[in-house]
Symmetry: C2
DNA sequence: CGTCCCGTTGATCCCTATCAAATGTAGTGG
DNA sequence: CCACTACATTTGATAGGGATCAACGGGACG
């Protein structure tokens, strides 16, 4: 193996789950590793989708920029996940930009290899379908939230999801594993950095979170869950019922 | 063939594109056709995903219900599309409900058959991946809109998308092909039926649309596009720039 | 021909974006 | 080691887009 990428690195990735070792070796022989510093782009929105990737270490941010120049954070990529598979879905170009939010390591393959992987191993196709299915599910959950919930709930849920996927137990609580700004959280929840700042300030006041520059730590997960479920300031929200409650 | 479903019915579906005839015959022999009247459910949110389907004729609505009882329209299914493929993404239950909005005909297969189709024909797997990829793309577009655009733009875009997928040329303009209420449009765009009603009234006033009970016809597509692009009431929106424009 | 459902429209309120400005914090180069 | 700078964060004041509340009008269907 010219690249000396240990097979174990890839063996545990969801995308390659249950793929036989001999196929893995082929996969690895073509893989091109890449190191990234914080802020480095992996690819840019609109570029031809020449490669697809797996994140080995670090954290990436996937961002869509609107015609008006506003940004929306599509998702954060965590180690082990595939990304940049636009070509696999027959899209010629990346629909979003992807950049490292901290030092990261990715593995890349030419998009053309995707079809080879699919044909040579059926399990690979099923794994890919599941991965995309999961993302579709997440996207629908987000649409539901943006459509029906208030900002406080959405931000609470956002933090919960972040500590769920990238939480790190510390002395003070569960910290988000990577640098993230108020602006980032705003772009994930469809609000403004000002509103996020106000919410975090209020929550810090109550001891629910600890905050620092580009850092958030959750101290009281249960309280945050309660907020996400809708136990916010609106004390009299009758929880959308079809028929009015009839007093006996 | 016990069911006498003509092969031509399935041959042109995206999901079965480029699938050889002999495989198609197998597919057809297992297919179970189903007729639906307006309002009939195909499956309900939370039910075990025992089948997946293709819509042959009519229109279906996919709806998610929140814990608070509010509804979000995930999408409308148009003839030729697959739906209910939760199991293919390894989800045990349907994440949303699906019901006919008019007389419709669907073809259903047991979920277990999915894997057989995948294994027996690679093209099928690729087609499925592309279909889900397209939906993911649509979902992201919607998230972007909900996050950054105002109600007027979102509703305008919604109508445009509807006439694009289900528009029918009439003497008066392009009509949406199936019955749809203000409430439905509201649930697609994250607003209320009142706001949608007001917008449609205003647009009718200007001759941009024609409206009827459960019917919408677009007369001036270009004007609607202009609205969707952001040419709304906000005359002074500085289009989110990083640096202020410097006069020479 | 009555009843349900869909649609329309006015009045009011409030959540949250927007505007404005100060404070704090990491990094940098002298 | 400190001044300087760029960026992140905080916080107050204000305004406005839409949700909400309330009522009525109208077409379809049994």
């Amino acid at each position: 193996m010219s690249h000396s990428i240990p097979r174990s690195l890839v063996k545990n990735l969801d995308l390659f789950r249950a793929v036989p070792d001999k196929d893995l070796d082929t996969v690895l022989s073509i893989a091109r590793p890449m190191r990234l510093n914080a802020g480095d782009p992996v690819f840019q929105q609109g570029q031809p989708a020449t490669q697809f990737f797996v994140l080995l270490h670090g954290h990436l941010k996937v961002v869509q920029t609107t015609a008006e120049g506003e940004q929306v954070v599509v998702r954060y990529v965590i180690p082990g996940e595939v990304f940049g598979i636009a070509k696999a879905m027959q899209r010629p170009a990346y629909p979003a930009s992807c950049l490292a939010v901290e030092e990261s390591v990715v593995l890349g393959w030419p998009s053309a290899e995707w079809d080879r992987f699919m044909t040579s191993n059926l399990q690979f196709a099923a794994n890919a379908l599941q991965a995309v299915g999961q993302r579709l599910h997440d996207a629908h959950a987000r649409i539901k939230e943006l459509s029906t919930e208030e900002v406080e709930q959405r931000v609470a849920r956002c933090l919960l999801r972040l500590i769920d996927s990238s939480g790190e137990k510390t002395d003070d609580g569960i910290a988000i594993n990577f640098p993230i700004t108020r602006q980032d959280i705003a772009e994930m929840t469809g609000t403004t950095l000002h509103t996020v700042s106000r919410l975090l300030s209020a929550w810090k006041e109550q001891g629910m979170v600890l905050t620092g520059r580009k850092r958030v730590t959750v101290r009281k997960v249960d309280d945050l869950i309660r907020l996400a479920e809708g136990a916010g300031a609106c004390s009299s929200k009758p929880a959308a019922r079809k028929k009015p409650v009839e007093p006996a």
